[in-house]
Amino acid sequence: MRYAMVIDTKKCVGCSDCVVACQTENNVPIGYCRDWITERVEGTYPNLELELRSERCNHCENAPCVRCCPTGASHIIDGGIVLVTPNECIGCGACIESCPYDARFQHPDGYVDKCTFCHHRLEKGQLPACVSVCPTKCMYFGDLDNPNSEVSQLLKARKHKTLAPEAGTKPHVYYLI
């Protein structure tokens, strides 16, 4: 089992529904967010190109946050999901420094928090909150080890990228381009 998220940048309209859904589902404190929308504009007027991305923790296969954690609070569970155990986290900030995506933050209660791929929903057979609410259905979630899963099929058929592949983190969030 290798969970992955595939996000179609051609279908995303940047409505931030995923952000609000996550904040509601996971009780994210006000002023913080586990996912966010990045708008990237390239080119010279009038030849501009716009890319909208819903970003979050990439649940990297080679996760620097897990490697640098001095207590083992940051860990990888079955399915490749990177999680933080609040009661093992000392709030040293090493994992935040180590993340090339700035996906982690210090929760006001002190421990480090981030996207969990909504693993509490996955256990019940539901999709992550962000995926389930997307009004343009631009987000897909599934198992990369299953060649027939929607995510595997999409990655086979469409051109895609990951963020900062040069960081060597092997992200599990893919963007269709």
Binding site: A94, E97, S98, D109, A164
Partner: protein
Amino acid sequence: MEEELFTSGRNIPNIDPSLQIWHWPISVYLFLGGLAAGLLFFAALSTVLKKEDETPATVKYAIIVAPIALVLGLMALFYDLTHKIFFWQLYTTVRIESPMSWGAWVLLFITPLSMLWVFSYWKDIFPKMDLRLSFLEKFRLFLAKNRMKMAYVLIPLSIILGIYTGILLSAFNARPLWNNAILGPLFLVSGLSTAAATIILFSKSHSERSLFSKIDVGLIIIELALIVHMIMGYWAGSEVQLEAMELLVNGEFTVMFFVFVIILGLLLPGLLEIMELRGYKVPVVVPAILILIGGLVFRFVMVEAGQLTRYLY
């Protein structure tokens, strides 16, 4: 033209617009840890080489700074934790991959060891203060007898402590300014240099002062060479490393780096020490204090500037 912006109104404290996770206590700790490592290394080395009588300040007096620096450094580290009540989780596991875990374990052993070392010289440091309780005096004599063993343990521990202060930063691939292999040796040499400066401040014997002036001039030359290597490494690197270099040589931290670290912290004190060794009358306090300030500013520059650098995507 290229533009990137958050549209979901992301503005997480200490992360947006730029990382501010590690604050001044970390810089102060990296300085104090390096200083203590250097002091313990020199004291242990002098003992192993049986040169205690020629270097009294190294083994007995300047070394008092080491436990004080370690305790203050640990307090600074603790202060910067945000989930403080769980700090003991550091000692429930050994994580070989995590430099911070290495540091936590080394500090657990080296801090009490530095206190025991100072205690073993109690009679020399405080000749008028008697250890009234006989078992304390017995314990002191036991420590004094085993000083050589402590020295053999302290040499590797102090080197690990000194290098780890640099590796702590260089292990972060996500921060291009930190992510170079030279930072470990560079922080070690800088720590040894600040320790030599502290010994010069404490020493009353001319021969010990001039010995450590010589050592310090050598360390300054090595440190400058390592800094040149570090800059060359960025220069030969990718775009993110070039941007990191810009911060030091042509950006926000250039004045701090060149004026306070390179010129006032290394070149000038090095020159003054050479002049002093050549027989010119230079108050030794001046280069020693310049080196200590330079070492502290260097840690601040690296910690603050490093957090501004990141991957582009």
